[in-house]
């Protein structure tokens, strides 16, 4: 684009920015758009295909003036800018609502869930454009007249016919395709939906998706997708951020994805009068229990929202969000009498002592020449009675069974892994360190480097999956808990609680032998060396408990308890919460 022309266009469009903001409110504050004049600039701004886009994470608007000129939209500066602002202040307005809208649309698009972002763009555009055309008297219809299109795609025809009905335009002014009775009525329903749900647009999202579904079944509106690619401005709206609160399924998300024809308020036809049927089920006044998404559905919603994250991070975040409401007071070790350190004097520091114990002031006062082991000094401390009882955090060793029988926690909710996440996060909260070991033996194992304080690393390891072997390798405990092994690098090692998450296959592993040691012996010794107690969290579904299928479940559980291990059965949310409460009242006491 010639420089002079670009400058003129930029100054014209830039001058319209305050007016476009004022269309919504004089209090709206958004920074000016990023203006792109060349393809290289568009790539740098991550704008591809569309002449405009928004990003919710940094409230930005990106406009390609190069494409504006190519499409002949130079005269619609206020319309286009006000439209993009509308995505920031009206629909979807924020990351979470954007994701919730997509989740509701996915319910209304069975087998076509991947088109939710496309349909969401159409829906939000309808809401915004209707407000701009009618309330702000902007020429949004002019933008569509300029953009298209002799396209005869059925969905495009429906979309344009909806605008014609909303704005009382002549038939065919925007919609050039065939408009039969069915499409005309669907457009009328679409128009009523936009008007009725203008304030509660989230509730209308599922209905709009259900309205569009029949027009997607044949060819997914391929031609319209290509046409609308030039103005798919919220396709990447959720990029760069993780919206919160998506593990829970909203009220209305599942029940709201009905065809508008089934909504008496939209159809205007009483269902019983129409065909004698009862129509859609009426909602009762009973509040239903919370519903939660499966991890795989959670990942799909985030993907639809444009969140481009490592799948392992997504899974970790899911379990973190599910765990947070259930965190417990993690047991700590309390000393019967607290002591306060009392500085008593200086002694020689030798090279076998940790470097951090050098008292540099004392060393330099002794001699300005620092000779390790000769002139270096360390502070000696005695004790004096303290006022507050001293608590020592108990570290946590979390062993997770990653064999095939446990299932992949990234696909379906694993209650034992969730229990592990609750315990791990609770431990980190009180200053404990956590080591996570995943094992599917015989097979593979992965673990954190040691005892960690970083919640992200802990959760990411905890929610990984191997799918090898048949159980957690109980003999792995000896790698950490061995008389000669250093459990930690700390001068005074802390007690460690061992939490093993597995299922009934653990019984066979305990019976097995490795390096001439039975699993039972390893478990017993590890418990003694850890010093902080141990718990087996076992996922035993109803059909396995008390079953005569090849195992004496009660016998094994009794033998585990005799060794000094605690046992918790967790196969449902209720059992998980009960386990967490019981754990918090463990023998280390409450807070």
């Amino acid at each position: 684009m010639p420089v002079a022309r670009a400058d003129n266009l930029l100054s014209e469009w830039s001058a319209q920015w305050p007016a476009a903001l004022a269309v919504w409110s004089r209090f709206v504050q958004l920074h000016e758009p990023t203006w792109c004049f060349a393809e290289a600039e568009e790539s740098a701004a991550q704008l591809s295909g569309s002449f405009a886009m928004i990003r919710l994470v940094d409230h930005s608007v990106v406009i390609s003036l190069r494409q504006v000129v190519e499409l002949g939209l130079q005269g619609f500066a206020k319309e286009i800018l006000a439209h993009e602002i509308g995505h920031h202040v009206y629909c979807p307005a924020d990351l979470t609502d954007n994701a919730r809208m997509l989740a509701r649309m996915r319910v209304g698009l069975p087998t076509k869930e991947h088109l939710a972002p496309f349909i969401a763009n159409l829906y939000s555009d309808l809401l915004i454009n209707d407000r701009l055309q009618r309330a702000a008297r902007l020429d949004m219809s002019g933008v569509y007249l300029q953009l298209g299109s002799e396209c005869r795609d059925q969905l495009w025809t429906l979309y344009m016919r909806t605008y014609e009905i909303l704005w009382k335009l002549d038939r065919g002014q925007l919609a050039r395709g065939e408009i039969d009775g069915r499409l005309n009525q669907d457009a009328q329903l679409g128009a009523r939906l936009i008007r009725n749900y203008a304030k509660d647009w989230l509730d209308g999202a599922g209905r709009f998706a259900a309205l569009c579904l029949p027009y997607l079944l044949a060819d997914e509106a391929a031609r319209m997708q290509k046409l609308m690619a030039v103005w798919s401005d919220i396709r990447c709206a959720g990029k760069g951020a993780f919206p919160d609160g998506l593990t829970e399924i909203d009220d209305g998300e599942l029940t709201g994805a009905i065809h508008p024809a089934d909504d008496a308020e939209l159809s205007g036809v009483d269902a019983s009068a129409a065909d004698g049927s009862k129509g859609k089920a009426q909602q009762t006044g009973t509040k239903t229990a919370k519903n939660y998404r499966q991890p795989i559905d959670y990942a799909e919603v985030l993907k639809a929202a444009g969140v481009n994250a490592d799948p392992a991070d997504v899974t970790a975040r899911y379990y973190r969000e599910r765990a947070i409401p259930h965190l417990i007071p993690f047991p700590v070790r309390r000393l019967p009498r607290a002591t306060d350190p009392l500085p008593e004097g200086l002694d020689v520091w030798d090279v076998t002592t940790p470097l951090e114990q050098i008292d540099w002031l004392g060393t330099l006062l002794n001699s300005p020449h620092v000779i390790p082991g000769v002139t270096t000094r360390q502070r000696e401390f005695g004790t004096s009675p303290g006022a507050d009882p001293e608590t020592i955090p108990v570290d946590l060793y979390l062993g997770v069974d990653c064999s095939g029988s446990m299932g992949n926690p990234a696909h379906h909710l694993s209650y034992p892994v969730l229990a592990g996440a609750i315990i791990a996060l609770s431990a980190l909260r009180v200053g404990s360190r956590v080591k996570v070991v995943l094992s599917g033996e015989p097979g593979r194992t992965i673990s954190t480097d040691g005892f960690e304080r970083d919640a992200a690393t802990v959760l990411k390891t905890l929610t990984s999956y191997l799918g090898t072997g048949y159980s957690f390798g109980i003999h792995r405990l000896s790698e950490t808990f061995h008389p000669d092994a250093r459990i930690s690098s700390r001068v005074k090692p802390r007690p460690v609680h061992i939490l093993i998450v597995s299922d009934n296959d653990m019984f066979s592993m305990l019976d097995s032998e490795s390096k001439k040691r039975l699993g039972w012996d390893v478990a017993r010794q590890s418990l003694e060396l850890a010093g902080g107690g141990g718990t087996f969290v076992l996922e035993l579904p109803e059909q396995v408990r008390g079953s005569s299928w090849s195992q004496n479940t009660d016998g094994y559980l009794g033998r585990i308890a005799e060794m000094g291990w605690n046992v918790a059965i967790v196969s449902s949310m209720e059992e998980l919460i009960a386990f967490a409460r019981q754990f918090s009242r463990g023998r280390f006491g409450g807070r």
Binding site: R182, H259, A261, V269, A273, A274
Partner: protein, 187 residues
């Protein structure tokens, strides 16, 4: 070609302000008497007893709609045009009004913006008119779009498609539950 009628918006406002008395059922108000009052307002003689009996024998939901129409047609624009009386009388007993009354309640006619517009346009069509400022084609197209009878017919067909979509969703949900349950089978 149909002659130009009144402006649409004043009629829509009038309908939105329909007094609650006109929404009462035929056992509380005498709709035939209302119709006769309308004729008197036009300066005409009231219909003969046979005609009045035909009106009174309409179903109750139709009579509720008739009283709302009479309120609408008492607008000044119609009162000064007594030549519309015969068309009015025919319209009050027409199939189109009867079918609408079966599908949409009287309260919805008054409270819903689209239903108000539908009734106004239906009345004008019944009197051989179309709104001022519109073309006959636009007026006809707009009425077709708002037509509840037509919409009911389409909805009956659409419900079948929606039922298919619901079956698909339920089948997918069942498949996911089966996959989750398969995890617990003995290896």
């Amino acid at each position: 070609m149909s002659p130009t009628g009144p402006q649409l918006n004043p009629l829509l406002h009038r309908l939105a302000n329909c007094p609650p008395d006109f929404l009462l059922g035929p056992d509380e108000i005498d709709v035939t008497a209302l119709a006769c009052d309308h004729f008197r307002a036009l300066g005409l003689a009231i219909p003969d007893p046979k005609q009045r009996r035909l009106l009174a024998e309409l179903p109750s939901e139709s009579l509720r709609l008739v009283s709302i129409v009479l309120w609408l047609l008492r607008d000044d624009w119609f009162v000064v045009r007594p030549q519309l009386a015969e068309a009015t009388w025919k319209f009050l007993q027409s199939d189109s009004l009867t079918k609408l009354a079966k599908l949409v309640r009287a309260e919805a006619i008054v409270n819903d913006p689209d239903r108000r517009e539908e009734l106004v346009r239906l009345c004008l069509k019944g009197l051989g008119l179309y709104p001022e400022g519109e073309t006959p084609e636009y007026a006809a197209d707009r009425l077709t779009t708002l037509d509840s009878v037509e919409r009911e017919r389409v909805i009956r067909q659409t419900r079948k498609a929606e039922a298919r979509a619901r079956e698909l969703r339920e089948a997918m949900a069942r498949r996911r539950a089966e996959e989750a349950a398969a995890r617990y089978s003995p290896e």
